[in-house]
Symmetry: C2
Subunit: 165 residues, 2 copies
């Protein structure tokens, strides 16, 4: 018998995360044909609906997307009538990106399909474990995200805001 060949015993978080995330992208891309730019457009739309970030830059920073890319991502979403660029009343340089009714509808449907895909992807885990994994990943990410305010102006804004209270 040679040395151990079994993968599961070799701890390699980077590899494991990459495998899961790659699979997520693949699986999700299949059910997001109706959202422009696939998973990218989905992420943007999701963020627009669930958070309200002040500017495109904030949106971009939140998703770690380049600001110049964000421009044409929103172009496409707007072209499909999923979001609108409204002038920001408080700052005429900025645009408020707001989801249309149709955008919210499309997102809701997409989210259901994505959730289904995630169930399949995580089918190696029991239901409880899946829930735990979702929760832990979410919390780890949230912590990382808050820890690094520079990466997301919105967080910094929030911190200043919290401080004021």
């Amino acid at each position: 018998m040679a040395q151990r060949t079994d993968l599961s015993t070799t701890r390699n978080l980077g590899w494991a995360l990459a495998v899961v995330l790659r699979r997520w992208h693949e699986g999700v891309e299949d059910v997001l044909k109706d959202v422009p730019q696939g998973s990218r457009g989905y992420q943007v739309l999701s963020t627009v609906v669930h958070e309200q970030l002040p500017t495109q830059v904030a949106l971009a920073a939140h998703l770690s997307i380049d600001r110049t890319v964000m421009t044409y991502l929103i172009d496409e979403l707007e072209g499909d009538g999923l979001v609108e660029r409204r002038p920001d009343p408080a700052d005429r340089r900025a645009r408020r990106i707001v989801a249309t009714a149709r955008g919210r509808k499309v997102l809701a449907a997409a989210e259901r399909r994505v959730a289904a895909v995630e169930d399949v992807i995580l089918s190696g885990l029991s239901a409880d474990e899946q829930a735990a994994f979702q929760d832990l990943t979410q919390r780890a990410a949230t912590h990382i995200h808050h820890e690094d305010p520079n990466a997301d102006p919105c967080t910094a804004v929030r911190q200043v805001f919290d401080q004021a209270n």
Copy 2:
């Protein structure tokens, strides 16, 4: 009061995984200055040491790296004396990639530093939760990886092998 602003309540696995993985890459890159090609070289070296995959193609498939990229990744690792290309006695087309003593040493040291980085990255979770997260991620990934044999010739080989027993 506006709609909810809190991130942690919005389930978005793709976003969360991306945040954690991105942070992993950043953090790990810092402590892998001595490994050529940074985290990529590290992953290859790690795979070479811990698994024994027959060919460069298998190595590439395992890590989802293009075969043409694998060529120069190994070029660099070999140039640094971390691995060797040995002719495969059974198949003269193929090369066995084997770690040198120095390679194993460098890897071991790197793995310790990477583990330390992971502790920092996951510091938003308790020790138990960190362990759970590592375990669940690993198992989810392993399951995905085995589920898709085409992605990794080695797995297919293993399946045939298992069938024979």
